[in-house]
Amino acid sequence: MQLVVYLHTLLQKQTPSGPQSRVQVDLPEGSSIAELMRLLEIDMDPEHLLLVVNGKVVEPQHALRPGDEVHLVPAISGG
């Protein structure tokens, strides 16, 4: 399945054309956020991340579905 993943702040992907905060990934249907993080080589403790799918906070085991909008947000507590 195709997913759009938004990588906030520190998690941006460094590319030759500059840091990217939006990436498209291909994953087997039903994959968890933890598996998505492995694919993206993000080794930050999920405890220090906010995992948000379609605007809702979820746990690392949350099963993803086609078309989900995923945000991986390094801990931030306000502005």
């Binding site: 938004y6 906030h8 702040t9 520190l10 941006q12 500059g18 840091p19 905060s21 930050m44 403790d45 220090h48 906010l50 948000v52 605007g55 809702k56 906070v57 945000h71 947000v73 390094p74 801990a75 931030i76 507590s77 306000g78 502005g79």
Partner: protein
């Protein structure tokens, strides 16, 4: 440490030993205690019985990272209730270096002359302020630094405070002598203006560092605290990106303040994203700096210096709340335009949250179009000129809405809601509604809670925890972001306090201080005549669905009325 009690009518200083009940509390909690002990809750905020009080937090004075904040308070001219507004910079540190436990400014002068209050080892003295009155904050600070030397701390007001506009705050110098650390909320600048006090200059030469009961234990706790702060991944987010980093999370939750709180998401966040701002500041170089410390000793450096394309500083700092209220809320997404509006608002000595909210209401009333940066600047210039329209806007969103006949006014207790729409982050809505301070995200933001922010359930509980913790941090003199270090090692608050004062407090001291502070504040407001009706979000937020979540604020009223029953 002494209480410095200054009578503004007689221009006298009396130094006192703090009574026992004031000795184990500081900052925000101490303000509430002094207000309850000395200020009649039903008094006229501008009358002679109100007092303007400066209270450094319990851990201020040691250059611990992010722990030198000053709390300033009074009965609020804006809310009519208890008020504490805090700021970074150097005011707190200098007061403590002079041995000042709290500074209480009483009564008001008889004459129309303006004054600078000068505090030093020699005591207090009143100097004429005729050469700075009427000047903006930046020019005033420059002149005062020329007159008193570059090493003093200064708390001052701008033209808005002089005009007694309830959007006015009290500005403080940061460590680089920039006067933009504002104790913003609740109209404290207007109160200072009503006292004909343009500035307070604090010269700590010859002062001494605050005493430490057990220096070795203090050093050990400080070392551990610094380590915990640096190890926390959140610290790097704030160092690199600053507070604006929370914008994308708000976009994700549909909780941005867009066009006078009529939508929760932008079509395109990128022009106001943290990532864009960082890249811009790195590219522009010159005076631009994405990682700036407002206080000496701060290792988080969440502040910034925003520079224009020529590399010259436009404003420092440019924070998320300002980008929210003076940008997105006005339909403006050009950071350079927002920075210029921010600089003008600072120069007037106004709170960017309440002023941004007032401009949003004015745009809804048709005084300028959403997205019109020049129109927004023209409205700020009305305030600068002191025209009737300008004075209305400078009073904040609540008055502006009443005068212009707008229903969609984002305020609680007359104080503007900050840059998190409470319909999409309902726990923060509970905080806005119930905080004795009025709508204020710093009183207990819940965005970090792992909870369904759209459900009405469980919001009372997350708000209560956040409000208690924040009241505790405000009592220590801690920046919100010092909390990362303490969150992984809460025993360090106990250890630092016990080493500093020779106390024997337990690990729950943060919550003990927080609960005590809230209890005092709630009691002051009760005596000031506040009821359940004051602890509500504006009614339209319970009816008007917020796109795209289509949420309304639906946390049960019973939850709001019982939040402080613990």
């Amino acid at each position: 440490m002494e209480v410095w009690r200054i009578n503004l009518r007689a221009q006298t200083l009396q130094k006192e030993t703090p009574p026992e009940a004031w000795q184990r509390i500081g900052g925000r909690g101490l303000l509430a205690r002094i207000l309850l002990d000395e200020v009649p809750p039903l008094c006229d905020p501008y009358g002679p019985h109100n007092k303007l009080i400066f209270a450094p937090g319990l851990l201020v004075g040691h250059m611990l990272s992010s722990l030198d904040r000053i709390s300033i308070g009074a009965k609020s001219p804006l809310t009519g209730g208890v008020k504490e507004a805090n700021a970074g910079g150097s005011t707190g540190l200098h007061l403590v270096n002079l041995g000042i436990h709290s500074l209480i400014l009483e009564d008001r002068p008889d004459s129309d002359a303006w004054w600078v209050l000068h505090l030093s080892k020699e005591g207090a003295r009143f100097d004429p302020a005729s050469d700075v009155v009427g000047l903006g904050v930046y020019d005033s600070a420059k002149k005062l630094l020329e007159r008193y030397g570059k090493d003093v701390a200064i708390a001052l007001i701008g033209p808005a405070g002089e005009m007694r506009l309830t959007g006015a705050g009290i500005m403080n110098l940061d460590k680089d002598r920039v006067p933009a650390r504002i104790a913003a909320r609740g109209g404290l600048g207007a109160l200072m203006g009503s006292r004909r006090l343009k500035a307070i200059v604090i010269d700590d030469r010859g002062g001494e560092k605050a005493p430490i009961a057990d220096p070795a234990a203090f050093r050990a706790a400080q070392k551990e605290y610094n380590k915990a702060l640096q190890a926390h991944p959140q610290t790097k987010v704030y160092t690199d990106f600053g507070t604006i980093a929370v914008g994308r999370l708000c976009q994700t939750f549909g909780a941005l303040p867009v066009r006078n709180f009529s939508a929760g998401q932008l079509m395109d966040l990128e022009p106001v994203s943290a990532e864009h701002m960082r890249n811009l500041l790195l590219e522009r170089d010159g005076e631009a700096n994405p990682s700036h410390a407002c206080m000496r000793g701060c290792t988080i450096r969440s502040s910034n210096v925003f520079a224009g394309p020529d590399g010259k500083a436009t404003v420092s700092p440019l924070e998320y709340e300002t980008v929210g209220l003076m940008g997105m809320n006005l339909g403006i997404t050009d950071l350079d335009v927002i920075a210029r509006l921010n600089a003008k608002t600072n120069d007037l000595g106004l709170d960017t949250i309440d002023t941004g909210a007032a401009l949003g209401v004015a745009m809804e009333a048709g005084l300028a179009a959403f997205g019109d940066g020049e129109g927004a600047m023209r409205l700020l210039q009305e305030i600068e000129k002191g025209t009737p329209l300008g004075r209305i806007l400078g009073m904040g969103a609540a008055i502006t809405g009443k005068v212009l006949g707008v229903e969609r006014v984002p305020v609680v207790k007359n104080q503007a809601i900050s840059a998190y729409d409470p319909r999409s982050i309902k726990g923060t809505g509970v905080t806005y509604a119930t905080s004795p301070q009025g709508a204020d995200h710093t009183a207990g933001l819940t965005i970090r809670a792992k909870i369904d922010h759209l459900s009405p359930k469980g919001q009372k509980e997350v708000s209560r925890i956040a409000q208690i913790n924040m009241a505790g941090y405000d009592t220590l003199g801690a920046c919100i972001f010092a909390g990362f270090g303490f969150s992984t090692a809460p025993h360090l608050i106990r250890d630092l306090l016990n080493a500093r004062y020779g106390w024997q407090v337990g690990e729950d001291i943060l919550q003990v201080l927080g609960r005590e502070t809230l209890k005092l504040e709630v009691e002051f407001n009760r005596r000031a005549g506040f009821t359940a009706a004051d602890n509500r979000l504006p009614e339209w937020m319970t009816r008007e669905a917020l796109p795209p979540t289509n949420a309304v604020f639906d946390v049960p009223e019973e939850d709001l009325d019982t939040i402080f029953d613990w």
